[in-house]
Symmetry: D2
Subunit: 149 residues, 4 copies
Amino acid sequence: MVQLHARTKNVTSYRVIYGDTDQMGVVYYANYLRWFEQGRSEFLRQIGLPYKTIEEQGLHFPVTEVSCRYFKSAHYDDVITIATQLTSVGRATLNFDYTISREGDSASLASGSTRHACVDADGRITRIPSNLAERLARVLVTPTESTEH
Amino acid sequence: MVQLHARTKNVTSYRVIYGDTDQMGVVYYANYLRWFEQGRSEFLRQIGLPYKTIEEQGLHFPVTEVSCRYFKSAHYDDVITIATQLTSVGRATLNFDYTISREGDSASLASGSTRHACVDADGRITRIPSNLAERLARVLVTPTESTEH
Amino acid sequence: MVQLHARTKNVTSYRVIYGDTDQMGVVYYANYLRWFEQGRSEFLRQIGLPYKTIEEQGLHFPVTEVSCRYFKSAHYDDVITIATQLTSVGRATLNFDYTISREGDSASLASGSTRHACVDADGRITRIPSNLAERLARVLVTPTESTEH
Amino acid sequence: MVQLHARTKNVTSYRVIYGDTDQMGVVYYANYLRWFEQGRSEFLRQIGLPYKTIEEQGLHFPVTEVSCRYFKSAHYDDVITIATQLTSVGRATLNFDYTISREGDSASLASGSTRHACVDADGRITRIPSNLAERLARVLVTPTESTEH
């Protein structure tokens, strides 16, 4: 269902610069986490909840866990595609999944996930406000959907 | 057994600079992967196998998987401690474990692991040469040891 | 003169991520040099000489000097605009100028320049090949043009 | 005069990690600005004015200008030395000079400078408080001293 899919997945892109590479001639592994961040930032903007606005309301979603598997290398000047989905919304947690691919040949480069805690302005873990939780729940990818791609 | 322990674990440190932090006032999550790299680089140097020398022999150990759990935030000017252990040596793979703590209060900040493939100069996965595999196996932390700390 | 202007200036953009900021809540000063690199990379692509192609011919243009003046801060989620011009082509050197502005309010954030040496595959300084020098000379901004904006 | 010299110059070091390099096999040019920051941070600590403490008093010294000249490349695993001096203290400005060298062969790799504005908690340029200005003036390198090395 196209409309739903559009709601539940964000696709954004980035062109690799020299500064992202290391002396193996490929993108340094830590930089994929910058791409994950770009992906979830664009995901939140797409669903009408820019992270900047969330922060202005005194909430933060720091990463509490990250994992990434690397399949193929990204190279200088590659345009990479970041696909992001929200996979769970808990009382005070969120989980995102990411897939990184190369635009030119559609090669799958990496996949990963992040887990986030909801914290207030004082850094204390806090329940996700109900209006925010509801909006997030609406764009949550269901297990069935997530197996589609 | 102190002597063995000294052989199988590397402890190194790093002082957080401003450029490592983000606008939440804490170290950006991707930078922990730089610390993991510093940790395994010092681990390999400590056991007499500097990574630079390994590369000069035409071998590379790119990261194929990484995971990190974040417990507490690292802040500007903190001196953090990186403890690194080698947890497995396969035919063409290595696994390292890392724990990140703060020197001042010994707070545990994060823990993580990386998995590496052994690749040759052409980027093909290759068996770890036997002399290298043997030297690595000698410093491998056993399950019993690793549960000690 | 619009057509000439289009040839001699590249304008590209970038959205600031969290990882670019520091604990002052603004983009860390070193990251502007990443933007300069993005700017000159897009400039070279625009004139039909992608840097990747230049490198495939065994030439590199490492930075030998950089300067940057910072007027206003860039913030998280700002879309910044990078305008790049080639300001001189010597026997074995290139100079680029950059201006960084914010897309939203057109605020001028920073300006800077880089100087590059032409080096061959062995890292020796070498004369810019004449065909490359000619193509670069054609897109060189003249003093008159550069004072226009 | 040894004692004065010790007061007016800070020397600190850093070992290059893989993540600092780019595909030319050398340290990416923007990362030198991280070293400048490390240098001035250690300089301020050495003279008893850690930047963290300055910030806790509601003052910041953001960079308003930077320049760097690159002489030789820094490589993976090099231990580089950062020498930092304070070269001027104005009403609301500071200037630092930096020289980057390689520990192994003492090769001079780069030199640069930064200019800083003194801003208050609201980001407004403000006069450097007199007690701070006096302490900084005491460690200011004079033109004669700075030409010595």
